[in-house]
């Protein structure tokens, strides 16, 4: 079978076939992106397409053997050696948002793998200038303290208002390769003493009812009506948006205070207490470079303690596969996860060592393979076997 190398652009259109390619090498290891290399004469036609980021494929006859993204070129030896890393490396270019592990906790490993194939984009409001840049507001103020926070405004007597809100607009058009809205996350005060409260609401579009439209009374005397989502792990899990694809998302930060009487240190009058929003984040999903190939519907393994703090999709998928005892590979842009790739070869292949102890009449009945006179165990190990020429 003739060995050939092809260079593809990032959309997988074939740019060049390198007929003079030689010395093609590749390695495969579980849960890894590994090297694929090939050497070509410097005058090979189409070599100008061999630029960083394009894809390299190694074919043997009509079958693709390995593919990867070009990462290294070397002209030191008078020829050009192209080195790629297998396509799993594409997953290393996709970064998860900060503190995202809670989103995956409790999910089946197969679902986590699928969820990591699209990218993420984060829009965060943190600094005072960002808090001040509202789409609409009532009785709130941005304060340049603690890296930027949102507070209730004070009334004419210098007391904090009982409630107020500010809302912010996020547009799909401002997010490259936008695919859907993922979740809203926020960091804010909601202490247990029942004096101040914060909630979040959202709507798709520039008008209409804010969601969730849930109300309950505050603990104060007199109490007031609180509206929206208080959240559980709001700065990690936040509020899921269910993969909506609307072009406009508006998020509203509600602030409530039942304390207008307490004195701050050094004050002569009373001013009460204001809750604060420290950060607001909208997470969107973007179209990924890798699509779903063959991934089990479920693995029966529930993900626990997922480390996903601004890590890469590759790392999370590797963790998921390790927990589910699977391997994964990306070939021609599709990710597949399985215990093994390809059918069992025990009835087809008989690897006979130089010791020759396993030479049997029927290759399909190999049960014991010895090396150096000792039985060979394959349990979780790689065994190199020399085949005499």
């Amino acid at each position: 079978m003739v060995l050939s190398a092809r260079i593809l652009d990032r959309d997988r259109a074939v740019l060049a076939v390198l007929p003079g390619a030689f010395d093609a090498r590749y390695t495969r290891r579980p849960l890894s992106a590994t090297e694929v290399s090939v050497s070509v004469p410097r005058d090979s036609p189409g070599l100008e397409h061999a630029v960083r980021g394009n894809l390299l494929e190694v074919w043997r006859g009509p079958t693709i053997e390995a593919s990867g993204r070009l990462e290294l070129r070397d002209v030191s030896g008078g020829i050009i050696t192209l080195t790629a890393y297998t396509e799993e490396i594409l997953l290393k270019d996709s970064r998860l948002p900060a503190a995202y592990g809670a989103v995956f906790s409790g999910m089946d490993a197969a679902d986590v793998i699928r969820a990591c194939l699209d990218g993420w984009a984060v829009a965060r409001i943190k600094s005072a200038s960002e808090w001040a840049d509202t789409t609409g507001t009532s009785k709130t103020t941005a304060v340049d303290a603690g890296g930027g926070t949102l507070w209730l405004a004070r009334d004419g007597d210098g007391k904090y208002e009982r409630n107020g809100y500010a809302y912010y607009r996020f547009t799909a058009a401002s997010i490259p390769n936008f695919k859907s809205w993922d979740r809203i996350r926020w960091a804010s005060d909601y202490p247990a003493d029942g004096l101040v409260y914060t909630t979040i609401q959202y709507r798709f579009g520039t008008s209409g009812t804010w969601l969730p439209n849930v109300t309950w009374p505050s603990d104060g005397d007199p109490s007031q009506t609180l509206t929206g989502e208080r959240g559980v792990l709001p700065d990690e899990q936040g509020l899921s948006l269910g993969g909506a694809t609307n072009s406009i998302l508006e998020v509203r930060c509600n602030l409530y205070s039942d304390d207008q009487d307490s004195q701050e240190e050094g004050e002569t009058g009373t001013s009460g207490t204001s809750p604060r929003f420290y950060a607001l984040e909208v997470v969107a999903r973007t179209t990924g470079l890798v699509t779903v190939g063959s991934i089990p519907a479920s693995t029966g393994v529930t993900m626990q303690a997922v480390n996903a703090d601004a890590t890469t999709a590759f790392d999370v998928i590797r963790d998921a596969c390790e927990q589910a005892k699977l391997d994964f590979q990306v070939l021609q842009g599709q990710l597949s996860a399985a215990e093994a790739f390809g059918p069992s070869l025990v009835n087809v292949v008989n690897l006979v060592t130089s010791e020759g102890r396993a030479a049997l009449d029927e290759p399909s009945t190999i049960e014991v393979l010895t090396y150096g006179g000792e039985p060979v165990s394959f349990g979780g190990e790689f065994v190199t076997v020399e085949v005499p020429t």
Binding site: S4, R10, V14, A16, V17, P19, R42, D43, P45, L47, E48, A50, V51, R52, G53, R69, L70, E71, L72, R73, D74, V75, S76, G78, D93, S94, R95, P97, A98, A99, A121, V122, R124, K126, S127, S129, E130, G147, G148, P176, R185, W186, A187, D235, E236, Y278, A279, E281, L289, D309, A310
Partner: protein, 439 residues
């Protein structure tokens, strides 16, 4: 001062290279400033590659943004990710770290400046690691060599003519090289894909000569052919434009079972075309955008020039459609009187001929009557005075046999009733259409 040096290493790597930078300020989790910067130029060229970096000393968003911009400029510059080392033989003035030197390599064809970032010296000489070159040398070399190849190829013209002769199971390709071409042979590429780009998988024949027999092709499947010449130094000419044919199968030329695909239908020339001997296109099936009379916004269809038509034997075709009127006046009517009038006529057509083998059907109908409020229509009808009369009715049909006619005239008959006394003038409108059937 020129020193003899040997290129030891010229590589580039993507380790650490990024085109998108997520910059994070002080803090933890989501409670920290974060900006995402994109180098769109680099993304277009090298793809989206994200990196994340913390700037714990950023004091505000503007500061974080400024720091991130500086960092992104570094990590998205491919020149920063190349390794260049040269070996300088013998003893020279000692090099110092940070010195800039000029490096030239005649074989690779580049000259650049770079900063000494590493020195290894022994008894035989020094190996210098160089960095901070202003551009990616491999990209420079690639671009330069591609340009040279194009220049060389331009000096070797493509074959000036290619002809295809279909055979029962393939085709014969006849190639004509230019009279002064230095080509020593040609490559023939064949593919069933319209608009294909030749590569090793499409190479069907290669060698000296001008006549190549390509066999083993499926019949009735159109094959596209491009040819290029090569010289004795391995240079190739550009490819010819593609031409196509299909293996004709056994027997005379005919369309056999299969299909004709016109792909890339958006292309202006994607159509079946019929042309007159003068070259003017008279019929076109496919992309008809821009053809005379085609409404704006219509891209695909069947277009025919003036003088063309669709003819299907035994199917009625419209000859003409129109309307006309005739008037009449009845004098001295008394109230309640009913009076008939025949022969209210108008001419539909002048002289004409119904050709042999055709039958024309004339359909007429009174469209409207315009009485004033002093009369009302009791009965009306039409007839062709050229051949027939008919009883008054509001519609009528008749047939014209194959022969020559001086005219076709419609004649109305009406019966009206006067409501008041006096002279009564009226106008009758009639619509008609004529269909013909070829036997």
């Amino acid at each position: 001062m020129s020193l003899i040096a040997e290129l030891v290493t010229l590589t580039d790597t993507s380790e650490g290279f990024a085109t998108i930078l997520i910059a994070r300020g002080p803090g933890t989790g989501i409670n920290r400033m974060q900006v995402t910067l994109r180098n769109e130029t680099a993304i277009t060229k090298y793809g989206a590659r994200e990196a994340i970096e913390d700037f714990p000393d950023a004091v505000n968003t503007a500061d974080l943004l400024a720091k991130a911009q500086v960092r992104l400029a570094e990590v998205s510059d491919p020149a920063k990710f190349q390794q260049l080392t040269v070996r300088v033989a013998g003893h020279t003035e000692p090099f110092r770290l940070g010195q800039r030197v000029r490096v030239s390599d005649g074989e690779l064809g580049f000259t650049t400046t770079a900063k000494i970032v590493g020195i290894d010296t022994d008894e035989d000489g020094s190996t210098l690691a160089l960095g901070d070159a202003p551009a990616s040398l491999l990209d420079v070399i690639n671009a330069k060599e591609a340009e040279e190849k194009r220049d060389i190829a331009l000096g070797l013209p493509a074959p000036i003519s290619v002809q295809l002769v279909p055979t029962p199971t393939g085709m014969t390709v006849l190639v004509t090289l230019g009279a002064n071409s230095r080509a020593i042979g040609v490559e023939v590429h064949v593919s069933p894909v319209n608009g294909f780009m030749p590569d090793v998988s499409t190479l069907a024949a290669r060698g000296p000569g001008v006549r190549f027999a390509i066999e083993g092709l499926p019949t009735a499947v159109r094959q596209f052919v491009r040819v290029r010449a090569f010289d004795d130094r391995g240079n190739f000419s550009p490819y010819t434009d593609q031409i196509s044919t299909a293996a004709r199968g056994v027997g005379t030329a005919e369309l056999v079972v299969g299909q004709i695909d016109i792909t890339n239908a958006e292309r202006p020339e994607a159509a079946l075309s019929v042309k007159a001997s003068g070259g003017a296109e008279v019929l076109r099936l496919g992309n008809i955008t821009g053809k005379a009379g085609v409404p704006s916004g219509t891209q695909y269809g069947l277009w025919g020039d003036q003088g063309t038509g669709v003819f299907i034997r035994g199917v009625l075709e419209l000859v003409e459609i129109g309307e006309g009127n005739g008037s009449y006046t009845m004098t001295s009517m008394t109230a309640g009187e009913r009076r008939g009038q025949v022969g209210i006529t108008y001419n539909v057509m002048g002289s004409f001929t119904v050709p042999a083998g055709e039958t024309w059907y004339v359909y007429t109908a009174l469209k409207s009557v315009l009485p004033d409020d002093t009369t009302r229509l009791i009965q009306a009808g039409v007839a062709s005075t050229a051949q027939w009369t008919s009883s008054p009715s509001t519609y009528s049909t008749f047939t014209l046999e194959a022969r020559a006619y001086n005219y076709l005239r419609l004649s109305f008959s009406v019966l009206v009733e006067a409501i008041t006394g006096g002279d009564k003038s009226h106008v009758l409108w009639a619509t008609y259409f004529i269909l013909r059937k070829r036997s």
